[in-house]
Point group: C2
Chain length 284, copies 2
Amino acid sequence: MTLDSRWFSEAPPGIDAAFSLRIKEKLHEEQTPYQFIEIFDTETFGKLMVIDGSIMLTSRDNFLYHEMMSHPVIFSHPNPKRVLIIGGGDCGTLSEVLKHRTVEQVWQIDIDEAVTRLSEIHFPELCQHNGDSRAQLRFEDGIKWIQEAEPASIDIIIVDSTDPVGPAEGLFTEAFFRDCYRALHADGILVQQSESPLLHLPLLQRMHHDMRKAGFADTQSLYYPQPVYPSGWWSATMASKSNPLNGFREEDARQKAFKTRYYNIDTHKAARAQPEFCKEAGLG
Amino acid sequence: MTLDSRWFSEAPPGIDAAFSLRIKEKLHEEQTPYQFIEIFDTETFGKLMVIDGSIMLTSRDNFLYHEMMSHPVIFSHPNPKRVLIIGGGDCGTLSEVLKHRTVEQVWQIDIDEAVTRLSEIHFPELCQHNGDSRAQLRFEDGIKWIQEAEPASIDIIIVDSTDPVGPAEGLFTEAFFRDCYRALHADGILVQQSESPLLHLPLLQRMHHDMRKAGFADTQSLYYPQPVYPSGWWSATMASKSNPLNGFREEDARQKAFKTRYYNIDTHKAARAQPEFCKEAGLG
């Protein structure tokens, strides 16, 4: 069949596979100093945010990505108190991080304030805790912020960015990983969204290589479904400053005092399973 | 962006989400007595088979589905010798099943011979072992076949079907599950493709319910990525005649003498992990 103008389609260059959602109406569009943002109401996925033509999130399935970008890394750290989110302007990751009562301070550093303001309007369920006294939302360049961060001052860095083109390109470099390494405390862990295992395997390989070259002692990719991203299968890659990434606080995860929709101790373990072709590609 | 006529799109009714692949050329189309089959050459996913407008498989990613429809159920059975595949005319599941040297006999019962003949031409990598002396390919109605099967004569039934509309509709019924139950040996296990956890949760719930009502002692859904199917996230549901589905032959899986691209002991365990919302929906 042919998709008419009532559909929004994302067809990333070079991928030649597209994902589309049927649209009720476009609610907003805006060219910010950094990017072009569109908000749609869809037929069956709730609200949809698109940046520079790429799907960022929908109401229906963002819980998968946001839970898997936050809970596994937090439960992998022995005592996470200070968390930095780079990107994440929709506040979905922030909202999950704040569920951890051990966390004392969270900085969310997104270059584009418009993302957060639009999320407050169209994804209010993700922004309910933006006023938490532990949260600091700043609209600055995350790359510069991390360069200037006090050494060894952060326990967890979550890079919740767009694809490695445009404003996010500098987040996928050895220089950036080196700055993260410096800013992390000895037990610190970096986690970064790392695209689709099926479609972007060379990017994943390069990230592991560059993270280790930047000094990280151990790296590990996590895998989870994310239907509205290319291929519907997504990954996050963790890099630990000094400790091996060989487990997580299982008992704490089992007894977590908050509600999730995808994450639990079993799906955490599942995300750590390396598919055979990923093992062969050295993702470990 | 708008997808022009060089794209093939699948937009299942009621889902309002579509997946598309960019096409180099259409290689074949054919109306059989049962369904309309198309074969395309795509830009980046290799060959593509479409039946009645639904994507069946591509060269690039069918390993995910075929490995996860076969190895988990086979390693969940204590001593699998006789395997029945209902559907599966592309021979991808058959090809994985035959990798198990313990398997003595495999029947592949697909109603439409054209699927197999076209697979032999366009997906020869899946058909290399069709001549194996343990394999019997028959082109008959699987529902009728199972009704007439000798009671307790089969160890594993794999239902590798299209969506529950058209010819496959009768495969998603309590009556069919009852026939499978009768045909299975006491240790027997049925596994059936069970659509997307995100998009088809009520179908999954109904399958569990109907399988148990048909007499099966235990049921369990497995989850895995399948990028070209709706949402990119897929499931298979197992039903065991008498034994609990609480583990699998881990040591045999670890020492498997054949190559896979996704499946291994870790991804097997990962597939068994129930996401929180699936647990809440009673999928167990």
